[in-house]
Subunit: 227 residues, 2 copies
């Protein structure tokens, strides 16, 4: 049986072995028979599954928020996680070159294969079964789905604000990196047009930048009288 | 019954009158109870319905082509047509201001309401029923769905080419408009950096521009050695 353990993890056994093989075949392995068409289909299946899930989970949320929440869950990073949870990389058909290129660990390849797998599930077993399986995986990976958790990308928000109001992107300057390797602390400053708006510390540069962005947004909201 | 004739045209009678009312209510009528959440849902439902339809219709088409075909069907212009086919404008709940502003004929409002209606159908009757109804409407509106028909947007293609190769957008100049109102003929010239590449005639400016764009693309393909 093709990818026996994978089918066990999914809790679904494909009747059509050719279909699951197609879902697991990367373009590098075959230009003619690969998972790109199933990926196209699975992408739309997942959009609806996640879209409906959030629609029901947040009955008071406006459309704009729901779209943002969906975008936070329906993306390469998120599907890469779900693929890794299924150990999907192990079962892929890749060219030797892509194999050597660490293709089995690449988020783009894993995310696409995950979408293709859901597309294949949809074709063979219908929407409800695909939904059941995808949601089970999603809930395991994200036990707590809240708007706060999903929307905490302050850097993106800050960039939107500064581009709209100043025509520039914010600059994150590393001010210091202290402590031993296992306990490093980074301090960054957030600058807009060379004026410093905030400082923040974090265990990683990214964490410090996020916190700096959050503080800057708060400051700008007051200064620019934004809601 | 709410929108009785509309429900007859759809071939489906809603059990939940509140749901179809929600789908027909524009934001201008009520900020709290309107069709924006259902539109968000219906948008994803339609993406999957149309996506799967094209997937089956063109079993040899690559993912890139399928995505382009879907984009040609899943858009405001297309849904506006389906909404008008259902005479949807008549049943909308709009504010008096939007009413005076010809809201019942606006493509953006009609397209959104159509998506919301499909979202409502999906919620109440499930994916298969929503699919059956949406595909019936789509096939009535587009009796012949072919890649050639759907992808014939030469103006967009030309713009992509000129921006990549010349860094500018093409200019369409009206050269003449002749004939009586009911049988007008327009002639346009296509210019890139002030050089004329083609002339074309048509019954509308848009048709003449499309034909001019097509001729220009042919010419450029030879000149620039594009495939």
């Amino acid at each position: 049986m093709v990818a026996e353990e994978l089918q066990k993890s999914l809790g679904y056994q494909f009747k059509d072995e050719k279909l699951i093989t197609e879902a697991l075949t990367h373009r590098s392995y075959s230009k003619e028979f690969n998972n790109e068409r199933l990926e196209y289909l699975g992408d739309a299946v997942l959009d609806l599954i996640v879209g409906e899930y959030l629609y029901n989970l947040f009955p008071k949320a406006e459309e704009g928020i729901l779209s943002k929440l969906r975008a936070a869950l329906v993306n390469e990073e998120s599907f890469d996680k779900l693929a890794k949870r299924l150990n999907l990389g192990k079962y892929l058909f890749l060219s030797p070159a892509e194999e050597n290129n660490k293709g089995r660990e690449k988020p783009s390849i894993l995310s696409s294969a995950f979408e293709a797998l859901i597309g294949a599930l949809y074709l063979e077993s219908g929407f409800d079964k695909a939904k059941e399986i995808a949601l089970k995986l999603l809930k395991e990976e994200y036990p707590k789905i809240t708007p706060e958790e999903l929307l905490k990308d302050y850097k993106t928000t800050l960039q939107e604000i500064t581009q709209a109001h100043f025509g520039v992107v914010p600059e994150y300057r590393l001010l210091s990196a202290t402590g031993p390797d296992h306990k490093k602390e980074f301090e960054i400053g957030v600058f807009i047009n060379d004026r410093e708006y905030a400082r923040a510390k974090g265990r990683s540069k990214k964490a410090a930048q996020q916190e700096g962005a959050r503080l800057t947004i708060e400051k700008l909201k007051k200064e620019l009288n934004l809601k």
